[in-house]
């Protein structure tokens, strides 16, 4: 069942490459495949058992056994929401693409390949298989930036490739190290999870993994590839990059860092929380200083991924749930914001907020796009009633007992989000539309529809958060309680108890059901 999510897009790649297909047909085929994948994801969601923390819909196929590589797939509460976001944003990327785009055959093939690779990475239960998919997604994204990107696309694409290739190497090194040092010669996730390595060894491997995934998230100061990639990437690539690809980093940390090295995790967690604070504050302050809309959204991504990092570092059942919620929330909100910035750029020819003004003009501006942008930035700034609020609230609520100071500092970032996004809105959308922008092209419904769909989801999940957290609650609770049962954690928890006077029962040991949102 899960293989369909990987192989249907691959089949789509083959189909769109058929020379018999006209340009219009290529788009139709790509959209059909993306729609089928999305529908299949919905089927899986319906059949998924949220009450189980185990891997579901498992598939296993022997591949290269001598290397320990097996085609082993499964989905649990961590990966199911991310798979859903990936399918949704891939569909949106295809739908929102310009029907007249150059080299459409290649373009749609790359988008589908990207969706397939990301789905594969989320579903892989074999570390080598994960690595293969993780590396596979670099190629289409690199090409999307390098071919359809902006004026500095060559630089941005190369930088992206170098950074993420290094990321891949480090992750592979950590996986190899784990496999070899554990003496299992296996890359099976469940097998490796049951192994126990000395703390020092765990620390070395975890730090290697942290740097690898840290590039992908990205963690400051490994982030410099991201703003360049976002600014130069075509809108659809930016949507996928911010919406799902960054989540590969946090998902990797959650799945492999926390899952495979629970004892070492407790040692590095305070440092990770500190890095989260740096991410949030640095990303926010730099966003305030930007004048390019896309860079503002890109740096906001750096900041908001800091919340995920904080939640994973705290690793309480509630904070882990919050990390998944924040990944979904950020995926939707950043996807929306990049879509909207893309429309603004397509219609006005600029993203410079010192040039743009009065775009909310009801007749000659971009009133609906502007209105959706206001909703998007409100969601990003954590206004109640939208998904951003509930995700950040769970993160803060779950992280505060473990890292109170860091959590409070991250909360400052929420306020800063309002600052930089209000600057963006105020400069670009309010005021009188200048005469230089008074003859903008028509906005088609095709430009509006993807944003409307995502906005509705943002509001729906904000009003009914259970639709978002129910998939992950049991999994994250199990993961959090497993972590709490490790010896190192008990030491850390006791230290935290002495320093914060917060009862353990209210922190990591408290079942998430007691803090349930609904």
């Amino acid at each position: 069942m899960l293989s369909i999510l990987i192989w249907a897009p691959i089949l789509g790649v083959v189909l769109v490459c058929l020379p018999q297909l006209s340009t219009e047909r290529v788009r139709q085929v790509a959209l059909t495949v993306a729609t089928l994948v999305l529908l299949w994801t919905l089927v899986l969601l319906v059949q998924f058992n949220p009450g189980s923390a185990e891997q579901q819909f498992q598939e296993s196929l022997r591949w290269i056994e001598t290397l320990g590589l097996t085609y082993q797939l499964g989905v649990d509460g961590l990966s199911m929401p991310l798979v859903a976001i990936n399918s949704l944003l891939t569909w949106i990327a295809v739908y929102s693409s310009d029907p007249q785009i150059n080299r459409s055959r290649f373009y749609y093939a790359l988008i589908l390949l990207l969706g397939s690779a990301v789905a594969g990475a989320f579903l892989a239960q074999n570390l080598l298989l994960f690595f293969l998919f993780y590396e596979l997604e670099l190629i289409p994204l690199y090409l999307l930036i390098a071919i359809w990107g902006g004026s500095r696309r060559g630089y941005a694409a190369t930088k992206f490739l170098i950074y993420t290739a290094v990321s891949g190497v480090l992750i592979l090194a950590a996986f190899f190290g784990l496999s070899l040092l554990s003496g299992t010669a296996s890359f099976d996730y469940e097998v490796l999870r049951s192994q126990t390595l000395p703390l020092a060894t765990q620390l070395v491997l975890l730090v290697t993994l942290l740097i690898g995934f840290g590039i992908k998230i990205p963690i400051v100061p490994l982030h410099t590839w991201l703003p360049d990639a976002h600014v130069e990437a075509p809108t659809q690539a930016s949507v996928l990059l911010a919406g799902v690809l960054l989540k590969l980093g946090t998902y990797g940390l959650l799945r492999f860092g926390l899952g495979l090295f629970p004892a070492a995790w407790q040692v590095v967690a305070p440092w990770l929380a500190l890095l989260a604070v740096v991410n949030v504050l640095y990303g926010s302050f730099v966003a305030i200083a930007q004048t390019d809309m896309k860079k503002i959204v890109a740096y906001s991504s750096v900041g908001h991924m800091g919340y995920v990092l904080l939640a994973i570092a705290a690793a309480t059942p509630l904070s882990l749930l919050g990390s998944v919620a924040q990944m979904i929330s950020h995926g939707l909100i950043s996807g929306l914001l990049f879509l909207l910035v893309g429309v603004v750029y397509a219609k006005t020819g600029t993203r410079d907020i010192t040039v743009l003004q009065g775009l909310l003009n009801p007749e000659r501006g971009l009133p609906l796009i502007g209105s959706l942008m206001v909703v998007g930035v409100m969601a990003s700034a954590g206004i109640p009633g939208m998904v951003g609020f509930i995700a950040e609230f769970i993160v803060y609520r779950g992280s505060f007992p473990i890292f109170p100071v860091q959590t409070l500092l991250c909360m400052v970032g929420t306020g800063l989000t309002a600052v930089y996004f209000l600057i963006l809105i105020n400069r670009s959308f309010f005021g009188r539309l200048p005469d230089s922008l008074a003859r903008l092209p028509r906005v088609r419904w095709q430009d509006r529809m993807p944003s409307i769909v995502v906005t509705l989801l943002i509001i729906a999940l904000g009003l009914q958060p259970n639709w978002m957290v129910r998939w992950s609650e049991v999994t994250t609770t199990t993961l959090g309680l497993t972590l709490a049962a490790t010896p190192v954690n008990q030491v850390i928890a006791q230290q935290a108890l002495l320093s914060t006077t917060i009862a353990p029962a209210a922190t990591s040991e408290q079942p998430v059901s007691a803090l349930s949102l609904d």
């Binding site: 003009n361 009801p362 007749e363 000659r364 009188r432 003859r439 903008l440």
Partner: protein, 377 residues
Amino acid sequence: MVSLSRKPSTHPLAPVIERIEAGGALLPDTPDNVTEVVGILKSYGMVLDAYWRNLTYIAEHQFLVLFPFFKYFNGEVTLNKLLRHWWHDRINYEFAEYCMKAMFWHGGGGLDSYLDSAEFQQHAAAAIQAKLRRNPLMQGLNAAFQGFLPEQIRLLSYYSVLGQFWNVMSRMFLDLSDRYDRGEIQSIADVVEHVRQGLVDAAAQPITYAVKIDGQPYDIIPKSAGLTFLADAAVPYVETVFFRSFPFFGTVSYNAQAHQISPDQAQFNYGALFADPLPIGSAGIPPTLLMQDMTHFLPDYLRAIYLKELRQEDDLRVKICLSFQKSMFCVTTAAILGLMPHPLTTADPEQHRVNRAYLEGWMDRLLQSRLVSVQAD
């Protein structure tokens, strides 16, 4: 020999002055402008026709009705019409009232003076007495607040006067459209001449206002008041609606408490010739109502021109506003020409100098208007 009278103007709008002196108009004479102006004046004529009928209905049939809930229904109150009204599928008569109130506020012309006269007080008192004959409650209120009902009648007088003015103008604009369809209007100068001639023809038409109460007619503005179309309706209207108007929210950003609005109404320049077309559609901007009304009556040839542009129907009201401003510059040209101190063709240098000074005076007022923009559009 170089004539001093023909010395080029040094005014910033000298090209416009020279064009008018040469028989042109404020608006450049291009085929597109002719089509736009005639087309928009046709739809404006249709809208004005509805406006004047309603203004006249209110003045005559809603006389001293303190709660005129159905004043926009012209006496035909049906459920179907009520539903359409609530659904907003209707003519926005509110715009006509905005213009009427602007005229009432700014005053000007003989009407303003007449409404402060003893003669008016006398006529108003007679009508009030007749209207309240069988209404002791209102009689008591009238005795307590003696200035209220006469003020209401002043307001109703403006309803009537504007109705009469627009009655003439709507026929004039529809006639212009018919002449265009017959091929008789081919230039902006033809448009201006048509309007000028229409104003001249109606100039001396008397402005009167009377109401019937219990079948008995009561004069409010009798013919003996000597009010005429051009001096007492057209000129105050142009001054009020084209030039001064109100600082509506949204059309300009202002802070009245910081004295950003001049206390001198003569300094107001928020009228149709100054309105910024781009904010149209924002909440609370009355000109939007007029543009919205005109969308229903656009001739096909004008709609076809609009649809050729980038935004097609999306910014229809902005396009209508731009065309409307062009047409109003033609009407203003007609008013300027109609009030010229000396004929344009005069050979007398002194008369020419006076004409030049007169035109430069107008241009001073139009410096901040959209006149410069319509030269390029």
